[in-house]
Amino acid sequence: MAHSMHNRAIFGVILFAMIIAILPWLFKLSSATAYYTDVMVFVAIHSIIAAGLSLLLGYAGQISLGQAAFYGVGAYVSGILTTKLGISPWNAMIAGMVLAALLAYLVGVPALRLKGHYLAMATLGFGMIAYIFFNEFLALTGGPSGFGGIPHLSIFGLPLNSTLSFYYFAWTLAIIVLVISLNIIDSRPGRALRAIHDSERAAAAMGIDLSRAKTQVFLVSGVFGALAGSLYAHFVSYINPPPFDVFFSVKVLMMVTIGGIGSIWGAYVGAALLNFLPEWLTFLEDFDVLAYGFILLIIVMFSPSGLVGLFVKITEKLKTSTGSE
């Protein structure tokens, strides 16, 4: 049973990677969709940060409203180290992830010992502090106007300076993150985490070290966030504080919840939806926020397992109804 599930997951990832590989060529067929490749780069970046939160929400039953801070840490560490100290983009990226893990540890360890809403508020506070820091620490961050000139990443001497090359690079990482996440879910700690979600007391009685398992997954979510931020910095090559504000943390939460808590795929579906919706609903302008709020509430009220859960339910119903005939 477990073995066949595993094969299905591998098949799913391969199919997904193939679709991702041909998408830019399909987008090129029409001038109206040509810029979708650009949007898809952001979908990849946001999928990575959303996958981290999805692990935390779906498998540790914990909520973070501070993922934007890790995203910002990744972006700013990459930006500052490469432009001001001349450190190579790859090393800067790793430095950002290490710092994010450290911060996640500092915030997570105390908050994760307490009930669910403590991590939510602690991370919300942490996100706000980080945002104030990005705005006020002029010497390092350039303040509200930010700074530019962040170099492109390059692989084997080939700079990733076109949208298409960065698309393939970002999606390669996003798919690696997907595979890592699927493995975490299937691993021993992952099963422990699912036990936590089902019943904290039962898990503790089985001898599972709850706060350690939760802290580990929170660290992973912070590292994924920083990786996404670093990709953002190297793709856009200019950073200022707004993309890293608290509302972005809320948006990541929406991606995971709308896509579907309890399924890593949901994070990818949610990231795609939240990036394409504003393109399709341009008439809403700033009020797209209102639409997201209602979508989020409707999902929470009527389909807590999100769009992916809805899809699974529908296919299962179709299967049983055809099976009984």
Partner: protein, 293 residues
């Protein structure tokens, strides 16, 4: 020199008290809902925004005296609070903590979006409740609104104490907070009590927003900062404790005012937030509680 210092300290104290009052009211709002439901309502700050903006709109459009508009605004926001519970929290099927948190976050996004839709993005000003020159005291200028803020906040605390100690509904709510199953057994409708707690909590938030608007202006996106400051006060005072919330609200307001005066206004929010994290780290049961929750 000495004279200047005393006057500026008085100035900080008066600013701190007025800002602290709204933190206290928001913190009380958190506690009222938390005690009955164990829900932390992430939309708590939005009630303050709605209270303030609704008051400005009513005064401009109706032209009624301020105190009538004040009551209408507070009443309308408390209905909004009840409506939110009835439409979105009550229908949740066996919600986990996670689901409840996300539902209140969704509500806060909707309330913020609606506020932007109705009132736009610009901040709104409001005249002080009674116009008059600032009171001069030991070289400090204290705005008359400060006295209104302090007076109304203390009145709210007294009314709340009376409500919980001496009315049937208040006692029933306390029973639900202690043990909702046992309260149900003696015939108290938990659902109704939760509805009342949402209405009451929204009303308190609205009062806070309305009284602070003459001093700090009000705009659609002030809610999340209000919420986290109020939550910090609630945690500092010990989640669930009313007296603790009020004391902690004022402590937080004073701390911010002094931080602004002596350090820098750009880091005043960061100082409160770092305090919040420190409290969660060291004393999650709050400053005044001896036992851990």
């Amino acid at each position: 020199m000495n004279q200047i210092e005393i006057s500026s300290i008085l100035q900080y104290v008066s600013t701190g008290i007025s800002v602290g009052a709204i933190y206290a009211l928001v913190a009380l709002g958190f506690n009222i809902i938390y005690n009955v439901t164990e829900i932390i309502n992430f939309a708590q700050g939005e009630f303050g925004v709605w209270g303030g903006l609704l008051l400005v709109m009513l005064i401009k459009s109706l032209g009624f005296p301020l105190f009538i508009c004040f009551f209408i605004a507070v009443f309308a926001v408390s209905l909004l609070g009840a409506l939110i519970y009835w439409l979105s929290i009550a229908p949740l099927q066996k919600p986990s903590i996670l689901t409840k948190i996300i539902a209140t976050i969704a509500i806060s996004i909707i309330l913020k979006g609606l506020a932007m839709f109705i009132w736009g993005k610009d901040p709104y000003a409001l005249k002080p409740f009674v116009e008059g020159p600032p009171v001069q005291f030991a070289g400090a200028f204290i705005q008359t609104q400060t006295f209104w803020i302090l007076g109304i906040t203390l009145t709210m605390v007294l009314v709340l104490t009376f409500f919980y100690n001496s009315t049937v509904t208040g006692k029933a709510m306390r029973a639900c907070a202690d043990d909702s199953e046992a309260a149900g057994l003696v015939g108290i409708s938990t659902t109704r009590m939760v509805l009342v707690s949402f209405a009451l909590s929204a009303a308190l938030g609205a009062v806070g927003g309305a009284i602070i608007t003459p001093m700090t202006l009000m705009e659609y996106d002030r809610g999340s900062m209000l919420a986290i400051k109020g939550f910090s006060a609630a945690i500092l005072g010990g989640l669930g404790s009313f007296n603790g919330a009020v004391a902690a609200g004022f402590i937080l307001g004073l701390l911010e005012a002094f931080a602004t005066g002596f350090i820098s206004s750009s880091y005043k929010d960061a100082i409160t937030l770092i305090l919040l994290l420190t409290i969660i780290f060291w004393r999650p049961q709050g400053l005044f509680n001896r036992k851990a929750r």
